[in-house]
Structure formats: structure tokens, C-alpha cells
Subunit: 206 residues, 2 copies
DNA sequence: GGATGTGAATGTCTTCACAGCT
DNA sequence: AGCTGTGAAGACATTCACATCC
């Protein structure tokens, strides 16, 4: 398949959200124009984004809401279940473990790790916090599909190395460091200070 | 000033981080090539990013680490202090209130709001959780420079409207909704489910 | 009639490559 | 000699505009 831009994938993900809203509101079909308005983009952008993957609409009519939603779920790989491990049982980890938006989209946190003996063994939203030292042993049979890294900056690379060695192929990284990983591993960084800094720049230049 | 791409601003923010690391390590000058390696980009990209704002290096030598760091702080508007309000005292709000990376970069959380009477009045990291109903009154004299919106999706737009009316010009939005705000207000969205979905897509297509 | 799907045009971002300064 | 700063080229993304189909 031709390489698809990250920005396109993000928009598809947004479109799916809007479609789910339309579906909940009982709307049966939707035009590229309506989707565009909802996501502050243009109808041409919507159609172009979809056209990379096929043609899913009916001319003169628009798109069937449930059909397009199913198609997008398929494109994004959301028809399946993902087992997720959260490493780092601090405040960020805590927020992620009980984040409501995850299970409904197929992301299920099944492991929580920390290295602090005071936290290990405690129950978190029905999950026992495990010792990060046992990570490799735990993943011997089943590794998580996705690991969420929510440890302090200084330990992040070491944990990432171990996750990769244990078979993890996707990491959502909350630590403010640039992880070095083999190219077959997908990494997405979320850096809150950096987001605030882009706001700072925006404030200054308007 | 010419309009600068968001991607450029994000990279500048990263470069600043790397410069601070170099500074801590006692490195006095750095080449565009060294910065590029650190941030997995190219030396041409680094130089081009900087060139939008001026010329800060010495040919044959590179950039003075402390000087370039100061320049970037200036460009990003980080030489000043930002007063931040967090609205929504759930797990995400909690993580943000005590996030270590903020104060060192000039972002100071000074207000925390919720609408749950059980939470209002409790102390959070030295801050009293306030009733969101009193937001307008609290901001009459001084409004926060930046508001972080960490409330559930259904209440987010209403709170955003009130924040804007109260004078807030920048919002970091954690609610999974597309906020409608006047164009003079800067909004950055952080959507964790969406990040996982881009990982899902990446996993599927490799 | 009305909205899609898509080449072509335009606009934006990144990379190249080298003149010019230290 | 080494590395910056920058026009020009190239790659990529968005928008236009219209033929096509329901």
C-alpha cells in the first residue's frame, strides 16, 4: 500500500469519531461537506483522505454512516482487541489505567507496572500493580500489543529497550525523551510541556 | 513576521530540550549536525528552522549552546511566567497539577477547578480545589494565561465558552471534542485515544 | 440535482548543494 | 577546513474544479 501521511491517519480517526456521533444521533447518511464542517476541514480534504483507500460513497447521496464507520475501523485496525501494558504507576499512569475512552475503542489495559515496592501489589481499578522487574517473565507467553510508557525521563530508554526485547511493537511514550528503538517498532510521543510551549509561541505571536 | 509552521515550532521546542541537556553536560558549542542527530532530523532542517528567525551560529564553528538556548526561549516566549488554570480535578487534572515538567519551564498551575462538591475545598498539591461556578468571579482581576481543560467531553464546550468570556486566550484541551472558539484563542488538543489509534494503524501496516 | 472521486494546479515543507564567512 | 545560511529543487499535502455516476 502507498504510504499514507500521518496527518491523514489522524483525520480518519477524527472522522470516525464524528461518524459515531452521527450514528448515535440516528443520522443514516452524511456528505463529505457535513463531515468537513464537523472537523473544521474541507470536503475535498475528506474525499481525498478516503480516496487513498477506496471509494465508499454514493454520488449524489453521500456516505452511509455505519458503513463508512466500519470501513474506517477496518482501515485503522480497530476491529480487533489490543492488550495494553502501562509501565509507571504514577499520576499519568493512573489517569491512563482508568481512562474511559480506551476500552470502547478496543484498547484494554491488562498490566500495570512500577518499580516502587510501596505500589507493587496494590490494586488499581481491578488490576494488581506488578513489579517491573518481572516484565520479561510476564510477557514470555503473551506480550502486550502496545505499551504505554509513563515513567520518569531517566528510566525511559532502559524500559523501552526491555519492552522491545520482550516483543512489544508499539509504544506510546509520555516520558519527555526521544526514544531510540528499532525501526520496526512504532513510537508516538506525548509531551505535555511541549504542547504548552507551542501555546506559548501562539500567544506571543498574535 | 512570516507565518511559521507548527512542525517548525515543535522542533524548536525539542531543540531547546537538547540544548539544555548539552548545557548540563558542559558542552559549549554544538553543530546543526549534532542537534539533528539528537532529534532524529537533518542538519539542513535544523538550520532552516533557525533561519526563519535569524542567524545565530558561527560558520565553521556551530552554535553557542547557552546563547542558542536563550534565543529559543525568547522565540518561544518562554522568558516569561505563565499562570495556568486546570479545569477538571479528575485523574488527568491530578496528573497535570503535579507534573514536574511545568514549573521549570515557566508554567505555574495556580487554580484547580471542579464541579463535584466532594472535591471542592480539598487540597491538591498545596492548591485548594475551587468551585467551577466561581470561575468568572475568580478571573475578574487576573485571568490565567493558559487554561487546561480536563473535563468530560459533554461539558467541555460550555466550560471553554466561559473561559474565553473570562479572558483566556490559550486552551490545552484534553477532552475528546473539537472545541469551537473565536480565532484569537489558541487551542491545542491532546487526545490519547487518537494517539493509540495512530499506533493501531502503524501496527497494522508494517 | 447533487455529491462523489480524482487529475491538475497550487501551496507548503523538506532536502540539496554550495557560496560565503570564521 | 569546517559549518552556517539560503536560494533552488524536489517531495509532499491541500485545494480546485469538473467529469462521472446515482
Amino acid at each position: 500500500m502507498r504510504k499514507i501521511a500521518e496527518s491523514t491517519v489522524r483525520r480518519l480517526s477524527l472522522y470516525l469519531r464524528f461518524l459515531e456521533e452521527f450514528e448515535a444521533a440516528g443520522v443514516a447518511t452524511v456528505s463529505s461537506e457535513a463531515l468537513a464542517r464537523r472537523g473544521s476541514t474541507t470536503s475535498a480534504q475528506v474525499r481525498k483522505d478516503l480516496s487513498f483507500f477506496g471509494s465508499f460513497g454514493k454520488r449524489g447521496l453521500g456516505y452511509s454512516v455505519p458503513e463508512l464507520a466500519a470501513t474506517l475501523r477496518d482501515i485503522l485496525g480497530l476491529e480487533r482487541r489490543y492488550a495494553v501494558a502501562v509501565v509507571g504507576a504514577g499520576k499519568v499512569g493512573s489517569a491512563l489505567v482508568q481512562y474511559r475512552g480506551f476500552p470502547s475503542r478496543g484498547f484494554h489495559v491488562e498490566w500495570v507496572y512500577d518499580r516502587d515496592p510501596a505500589k507493587i501489589g496494590s490494586a488499581w481499578n481491578g488490576l494488581r500493580v506488578r513489579d517491573v522487574a518481572g516484565l520479561e517473565a510476564d510477557f514470555e507467553e503473551v506480550a502486550p500489543d502496545i505499551a504505554i510508557l509513563a515513567v520518569p525521563a531517566d528510566g525511559a530508554q532502559a524500559v523501552a529497550d526491555r519492552l522491545v526485547a520482550a516483543g512489544v511493537r508499539a509504544i506510546l511514550n509520555f516520558a519527555p525523551v526521544q526514544l531510540a528503538v528499532p525501526e520496526e517498532v512504532a513510537v508516538k510521543n506525548v509531551n505535555m510541556a511541549l504542547e504548552l510551549e507551542t501555546l506559548s509561541y501562539a500567544l506571543r505571536n498574535r
